[in-house]
């Protein structure tokens, strides 16, 4: 009862309130309330994640497992960022309430939190994603083989997109007159044809498929047909 039935009822009720609010303005305030709870729980989920990070790394350090020193670095950086961000260390006071320290803004690098974001988190995430450029290129070089018509289409489209995005694309095709029959071969036209005709059509069909899948899964959850989401306590 406590572990299966009540969670199912809660799930169905919150889902149905959201659906009803779309059709009936009477339940709009209910849905606003439920969405507000959802946002709060999403916020608490971050605290849960942080707690889990602490538990996992502390266990690794205490048992001196291989790589425990990296766990210690993780915890130190986590703790430092948390202290700086919660205390609003170095925050710029709010001009309307300069006497309330915690009302200050910590967006600029003047504040410890803003400084850590600007010089630690932002470069690290940007470089991590930039690193993927090498691996995507390497994987493409190894995996892409024009073995059949479909592969040629994929490879050719990727090549066209990469070419027309850079100056070489315009340099190679600018000699084609804009008012001629072959103007569609100019870099900007090729890009428009690929993205606005073919990619749009493909993406539309994919989105329609995703929407149908999402709606079906949501209904299965709300009606209690699919109970797998609540199966693990």
């Amino acid at each position: 009862m406590l572990q299966r039935t009540i969670p199912l009822l809660i799930l169905s009720a919150s889902g149905l309130i959201l659906i009803l609010s779309y059709f009936s303005p009477i339940t709009e305030t209910w849905s606003e309330q439920v969405v507000s709870w959802f946002n709060i729980l999403a916020g608490v989920a971050f605290v849960l994640g942080a707690g889990n990070l602490l538990a996992v790394n502390l266990e690794k350090i205490s048992s001196k497992r291989p790589g425990w020193a990296y766990s210690a670095i993780t915890l130190v950086s986590f703790g430092a960022m948390l202290v700086v961000g919660l205390s609003k260390w170095g925050a710029v006071p709010d001009a309307k309430h300069p006497d309330v320290h915690l009302a200050g803004s910590q967006d600029s690098t003047q504040a410890g939190y803003g400084w850590a974001y600007e010089y630690v988190l932002s470069p690290l995430t940007a470089t991590m994603f930039a690193l993927l450029a090498f691996y995507v290129a390497s994987a493409a070089f190894r995996a892409f083989r024009a073995k059949n018509f479909e592969a040629i289409l994929l490879l050719g489209t990727a090549f066209i997109i990469l070419l027309v995005q850079i100056a070489a694309g315009a340099f190679l095709t600018n000699w084609i007159p804009e008012d001629s029959f072959f103007a569609f071969l100019r870099a900007e036209s090729l890009k428009a044809i690929v993205t606005e005709v073919f990619q749009t059509a493909g993406m539309r069909a994919i989105l329609i498929g995703i929407a149908l899948g999402t709606a079906a899964t949501s209904l299965r959850l709300i009606l209690g047909i699919d109970r797998s989401a609540l199966s693990k306590g």
Partner: protein, 417 residues
């Protein structure tokens, strides 16, 4: 052979040494090139410092009307301090020291409250900062010389002197200074960037240290975002509005139904604590209740949103006239607009693409005969879609890579002229 064995026994693989040497060479060459190109400090950073001063003032009640300025609207209202003002609560605001309302009598300073003074620092591009510093020094030198009174009347002389002193005051109050705090930040960012790039050679301790920092900092960052943007205004502000107003959100508007808000906020508080119970060694099932709220709400939101924004909207966007004219309106077409071959082909290809790809995704029918051929056309459209998506993804990553190199070569090494 014996050297290799000795190296293996010491736990330091040979390629690690190569990595460190490569990184050191890269750094040394970069620093040397930077110095050769443009003499000056590495990781140069400047800020423009503006000193802000605020004093606490109270609004002097007007005889007939109340003050309506924006500052006053956001001000706090405190209890009256004298018997005469018992029926007129005093409104207090933090204003600039030279606020004109002091002179007009609309405001009067509250005595006994310390003046709040702080510096606001805004980053300035190093090249512009150097130019501005030079210009300010030149201006200050020119303005420091007193006005030559020759051929001037007393009034003219006094007016010019006053203008000079005002200009000098502006020049002297503009402070563009080097920022060691930001320079250290650039150094740290550069080392972290190199640490991530070192993974290109192989997995190594430098990368692992940087990776650990990224995990810790990003976990704390997202937790802080959730705390300040959701938990404080949506939960704590309803549970303890007075405390939150006094310590974190002084602009928090008073609730119309504080009792109801408090009771309703107890529900997510309880659910949140139940969610955190997952960390406890026993009774992890308790966290299923808040998870049910999260899943149910998300399912309800997505059901209507995906049907409306994805399903209906995408079908509506596909339902366009197949024959296109240079004028998009029906009147234009009737008036003899030219037939648009490109637009017509695009429209037909769009509809064909959507239908064929949907047929490919329809697995209830076996892909044979007409269905199979249609699905095959759908696959062609999908291949073009994925090819374009791949191209854009690669371009996006390369743009980020260029951004990181720009940071290393310009912001850190200062190689830009």
């Amino acid at each position: 052979m014996s050297a290799d064995r000795a190296q293996q026994s010491s736990g330091a693989p040979k390629s690690d040494t190569r990595l460190w040497i490569a990184l050191l060479i890269f750094g040394a060459v970069g620093i040397f090139a930077g110095k050769l190109w443009r003499p000056g400090p590495l990781a140069e950073a400047y800020v423009e410092v503006v000193t802000e001063t605020r004093v606490l003032a109270e609004v002097v009640p007007a005889p007939t009307t109340q003050g309506t300025s924006t500052d006053v609207q956001s001000a706090e209202t405190v209890a009256p301090t004298s018997l005469e003002q018992e029926n007129a609560p005093t409104t207090r605001v933090w204003v600039e020291l030279d606020d004109p309302r002091f002179k007009s009598g609309e405001l009067r300073r509250v005595e006994g409250v310390a003046t709040e003074v702080w510096d606001e620092r805004a980053k300035v591009d190093p090249k512009k900062a150097r130019e501005q510093i030079a210009a300010l020094e030149s201006d200050a030198e020119k303005l420091s010389a007193p006005t030559d009174p020759t051929g001037l009347t007393r009034e003219e002389f006094e007016a010019r002197e006053a203008a000079r002193m005002n200009a000098l005051k502006v020049v002297e109050s503009t402070r563009i200074v080097a920022s060691p705090r930001d320079s250290i930040g650039i150094w740290i960012a550069a080392l972290l960037t190199l640490g991530i790039f070192s993974f290109l050679v192989r997995d190594n301790p430098f990368y692992k240290v940087v990776e650990s920092i990224l995990i810790g900092v990003s976990a704390a960052y997202w937790m802080l975002v959730a705390f300040w943007s959701t938990l404080v205004p949506d939960l704590f502000a309803k549970l303890a509005p007075d405390l939150v107003r006094a310590t974190m959100l002084p602009g928090l508007a008073p609730s119309e139904h504080p009792g109801k808000d408090f009771l309703l906020a107890l529900i997510p508080l309880a659910l949140g604590m139940m969610l955190l119970w997952r960390l406890a060694p026993r009774g992890a099932w308790i966290a299923v209740w808040p998870l049910a709220v999260v899943i149910g709400t998300f399912a309800g939101m997505r059901l209507t949103a995906s049907i409306e924004a994805d399903f209906m909207a995408q079908i509506a966007a596909t339902m366009k006239p197949l024959v296109a004219y240079t004028s998009s309106s029906a009147e234009g077409a009737a008036a003899g607009s030219a037939f648009d071959l490109g637009g017509t082909l695009a429209g037909i290809l769009g509809v064909v693409g959507v239908i064929t790809v949907l047929v490919y995704f329809f697995f209830s029918l076996e892909h044979k005969g007409v269905v199979g051929k249609t699905a095959r056309v759908g696959v062609w459209f999908l291949m073009i879609t994925f090819g374009a998506a791949f191209g854009f993804t690669v371009m996006g990553r390369i743009t980020l890579l260029v951004g990181r190199f720009d940071f290393l070569f310009n912001d850190w090494l200062g190689l830009s002229p």
